[in-house]
């Protein structure tokens, strides 16, 4: 029974690893050929492949190089050290979660407003959508500079950029969710002469939860992206974004890939936590909409 579950996972992971190694050989081959030619003596294909998989500054590092770098970084230094990748992950996660929290509050508030007041749908929603057409890479440095001028540095500018990315899926999902209640159940609330607030709290909100959690999963992953993007223009003191930036300054591709893998692990973990919260908070596991 467990093999049926684990087999596809293992096969998929192996396929990714094989493709990764093939890609490393292919991409690193030109540089490696140059180096072997310059060394003067003759070389075989096996020499070339061995060289492509063990380069100091490869175009594409191999999985084992990344894993070794991750291992060294995580175990070689205390967690509080700027050389430990976990420290940077923590900095990014803090900004992402702060932004996520703000994004949830903003997204839910906007959705509640849009659902309760029809006029907001035509007046507010276009701005919400327009906000997402602005490339985050273009607007992030401006937010950092403006907030820096106002005296806000560190976590807040990054959190705001993360919020900017993650409120949108929450607003859209919540608007749909808050409207997902069956017309019959809305009539029912009317026969009880329930007020708007009661209908919202007892019907619309619980009916929206399955939609909310779908949005939250998208949003929490987006908040990590937002936090990393925000770290790129801040000058690179700490955070996964700063690691990516310094890695690309010094051609440390292995360091870049370690940071990327950590970012992916962080996102996966956060999405999984949201999934656990969903299982705990949506009773029956059947969702609100029938």
């Amino acid at each position: 029974m467990t093999t049926r579950k684990t087999l596809p996972v293992v096969v998929m992971a192996l396929a990714v690893l094989v493709l990764w190694y093939l890609g490393a050989v292919w991409l690193n081959a030109p540089t490696a050929t140059d180096a072997l030619n310059r060394a003067g003596h003759g070389w075989t294909t096996a020499d070339l492949i061995r060289a492509t998989l063990a380069m100091k500054r490869p175009i594409l590092p191999t999985p084992d190089q990344v894993a070794l770098d991750l291992y060294n970084s995580l175990t070689g230094y205390p967690v509080t050290s700027i050389r430990n990748l976990l420290y940077h992950t923590g900095v990014t996660a803090g900004a992402a979660l702060a932004g996520f929290g703000m994004g949830v509050a903003l997204g839910v508030a906007l959705a509640a407003g849009i659902v309760q007041a029809r006029t907001l749908e035509s007046s507010l929603l276009p701005w919400v959508i327009a906000s997402q057409t602005v490339p985050i890479l273009a607007i992030a440095p401006m937010i950092v500079v403006i907030l820096g001028n106002l005296g806000f540095t560190g976590l807040l500018p990054k959190a705001i950029i993360a919020m900017y990315l993650c409120f949108f899926p929450i607003t859209i999902g919540m608007v749909k969710g808050l409207r997902s209640a069956d017309p019959l159940t809305l009539d029912l609330m009317r026969t009880y002469s329930a007020g708007t607030a009661q209908t919202f709290r007892l019907l619309r909100l619980p009916a929206s939860l399955p939609y909310l959690f779908t949005s939250l999963k998208i949003a929490v992953a987006a908040s990590v992206v937002g936090a990393i993007v925000a770290e790129l223009p801040t000058g690179g003191q700490a955070g996964l974004g700063a690691r990516l930036l310094s890695g690309s300054y010094y051609g440390q591709t292995v360091q870049i890939w370690s940071a990327l893998v950590m970012a992916a692990l962080l996102s996966v973990t956060l999405v999984a936590v949201v999934g656990l919260a969903e299982r705990a908070l949506v009773p029956g596991g059947r969702g609100g909409a029938r």
């Binding site: 009539d187 029912l188 009880y192 009661q198 007892l202 029956g284 059947r286």
Partner: protein, 280 residues
């Protein structure tokens, strides 16, 4: 909220009603929907008076306005013209005072609430204390034969059981008037017979005034004190049949074999045939 404190449910013996009080009074009711091409006459000049303790069935083909009529009484639709009073009030006042319980075609239970908490929903809206909410919910679930299912979720119940939960929910705040819109329409015949029997017992025990919308002639004759036969285009009342004279108030399923039952059923069918043009 004065209406928020209804009297506890008591069983009134089926005594001879001295002077039947009018609970629902409908006079010259017309309701027209404006569609883009032409107006739809959902109800045309409908008048009907319903006394306390009556069990009225509205029967007729689709589009005859039987559901619309009930929704007007419930203040879920606005009439174009005509007068409606419920307990001497306008439908809106009656709704705000929670004068009626409404059972929809679908159970419309909240899937994130347990059976018990579904029945407690109207009581929660009325602001009753938690202990009383629970006690009343248990009483009502017992009345519809669902003791022991309090902690189940709606999707764990069969369709008939779900509809019984929705009846318990409508009865939970003890309204005088019960409005039921084809509550058993989606159920199989055996379940339907069983629930009809339960409903007639419930009605005899509680002496609620009931308005019941149905497609089924047998169901209408079995349950009702009076049957209102309606016809479409425009929605109007064709015939009002008094069943109380020929059939006893207390009824069992066997009664459906009796000649009286057959005669009333025949008259209902005649009325339906007359009002329905089968050419479209």
């Amino acid at each position: 909220m004065p209406a928020a404190q209804p009297a506890p449910l008591t069983l009134v013996p089926p005594a001879a009603d001295a002077a039947p009080r009018t609970i629902v009074d409908v006079r010259n009711l017309t309701l027209t929907y404006q569609t883009t091409d032409q107006p739809v006459y959902a109800l045309s000049d409908v008048s009907l008076s319903i006394s306390k303790g009556d069990f009225i069935s509205l029967i007729g083909p689709s589009g005859c306005g039987k559901t619309t009529l009930m929704r007007v009484v419930a203040d879920l639709e606005q009439p174009t013209s005509g007068e409606v009073t419920v307990n001497g009030m306008t439908p809106e006042q009656a709704r705000l005072k929670r004068a009626y319980g409404y059972v929809f075609q679908a159970p419309a239970l909240y899937p994130w609430r347990t059976v018990e908490r579904n029945v407690m929903l109207p009581l929660e809206i009325m602001g009753l204390p938690r202990a009383e909410r629970q006690q009343r919910a248990r009483e009502q679930l017992d009345l519809v034969g669902l003791s022991g299912f309090e902690r189940k979720f709606p999707w764990q119940l069969s369709g008939g059981m779900q509809q019984r939960v929705s009846i318990a929910r409508a009865l939970a705040f003890n309204p005088d008037l019960l409005l039921m819109d084809e509550p058993f329409g989606a159920l199989d015949e055996i379940t339907r017979d069983h629930l009809n029997l339960q409903l007639t017992r419930l009605w005899l025990g509680t002496r609620k005034t009931c308005i019941f919308v149905t497609h089924s002639i047998a169901e209408a004759v079995f349950l009702s004190t009076r049957i209102v036969v309606m016809s479409p285009r425009p929605g109007r009342i064709l015939d009002v049949i008094d069943c109380d004279r020929d059939l006893p108030r207390e009824r069992t399923l066997d009664i459906r074999e009796s000649p009286e039952f057959q005669r009333i059923a025949h008259r209902v069918r005649e009325g339906l045939m007359e009002g329905h043009s089968y050419d479209d």
